[in-house]
């Protein structure tokens, strides 16, 4: 059942962070998140103080899942781009490579057009990074004895609950 387990090493993480840091600068955005489709926060960049990133990740994944469900009902495979307009801040949400969600938070220092343009490029770069991660996982580099789980004992698990 864990065929699609996501394992991310330092090198991959740095690549993701580089892409989203550049996106924040180029799009003049407040911040940017990368979220797994199942609601796990993968990376963030920009002014994220005061934002509950864990909740944001979970709700973004829920939002994408719900709208993809809607898409299927009307005969579309998915709605890959979402835009939520607020009074001050706006959210631009894009589904990348069918697996990763790219969220950009921006205000009136930027514009929807600029964000769209920059997201397109960054989305392509992220898709390549995650393709590599997937390839590694398929080849077994990222799974098997490479995971920290292989070494854990029942005692380790029990200790988690004894504190």
């Amino acid at each position: 059942m864990h065929d699609t387990q996501l394992v991310m090493y330092d090198e991959d993480f740095r690549k993701v962070r580089t892409v989203i840091q550049k996106l924040v600068r180029d799009a003049n955005a407040k911040g940017c998140f990368v979220v797994d489709r199942n609601g796990q926060l993968i990376g963030e960049a920009g002014e994220m103080q005061g934002i509950d990133t864990t909740s944001l990740a979970s709700l973004t994944a829920g939002c994408i899942a719900a709208t993809c469900g809607l898409a299927k009902i009307v005969g579309e495979e998915e709605f890959p781009v979402h835009f939520h307009q607020g009074q001050k801040d706006n959210l631009h949400i894009t589904l990348v490579a069918k697996r990763i969600i790219l969220v950009v938070i921006f205000d009136d220092r930027s514009s929807l057009g600029l964000v769209r343009l920059r997201v397109k490029k960054a989305g392509g770069e992220l898709a390549r990074v995650f393709e590599e991660i997937q390839k590694k996982a398929d080849q077994g580099d990222a799974g098997g004895s490479g995971t920290p789980f292989a070494e854990i004992t029942d005692e380790d698990i029990d200790n988690l609950f004894s504190v």
Partner: protein
């Protein structure tokens, strides 16, 4: 689907509380939230109707501690129990690492329990999961009510494979943490086996 991040040295796992409407899934999460140290929990999110019925999901992130230098985080979700929210239930099961099936012990809810268990099996199968292979813990909730069915009968109907199960009264917290610990243990053991 667990997420292992070597950069931040974190392991994230997803646990879903499943069961028929009004069986106590949200109550489980609320109790965990109320009794957990603020340092280890995040905000609890409830997407509910005005009458406090779960509309989409409840979400509670919990950090349990470290295993081999990795922070272990569990993301707890509930599904909406009402029959007509099936599309939402399917979405929430995506990427699940472990399931808690909360059964309502009241005799008159036995059929609803069976229907929900069947629905869990179907919805997991749609995601490519096999109920017999997913880490599963069963909680027999509402044991404090006078019309609770005998435990043996509930086990026979809902737990034929003898998965770990617990008696509970979630409103007062009885059995809640035992269930959580058990499912977390099952998930980690499952991931350990995967790592071999």
């Amino acid at each position: 689907m667990s997420f292992i991040n070597y950069s931040s040295r974190e392991i994230n796992c997803k646990i879903v509380y499943y069961g028929p409407g009004l069986c106590g899934k949200t109550t489980n999460l609320q109790y965990i939230y109320s009794k957990t140290n603020p340092d280890v929990k995040g905000k609890m999110i409830s997407l509910a109707t005005e009458t406090e019925r779960t509309l989409f999901f409840d979400f509670l992130p919990l950090a349990l501690g470290q295993i081999r230098g990795f922070k272990t985080r569990f993301h707890l979700y509930t599904v909406p129990g009402q029959v007509f929210y099936d599309a939402s239930r399917k979405l929430i099961l995506k990427g699940v690492d472990g399931v808690v099936f909360v059964a309502d012990s009241q005799v008159e809810r036995m059929e609803a329990n069976l229907e929900s268990m069947d629905n869990l099996k179907t919805n997991l199968a749609e995601q490519g999961y096999d109920l017999t292979k997913v880490p599963l813990v069963i909680q027999h909730n509402k044991r404090d009510l006078p019309n609770a069915a005998p435990l043996d009968e509930m086990r026979r109907m809902l737990n034929p494979r003898a998965n770990p199960d617990f008696e509970a009264a979630a409103t007062v917290g009885r059995g809640v943490f035992e269930t959580l610990k058990s499912v977390a243990r099952e998930v980690l053991r499952d991931l350990k086996q995967m790592g071999r």
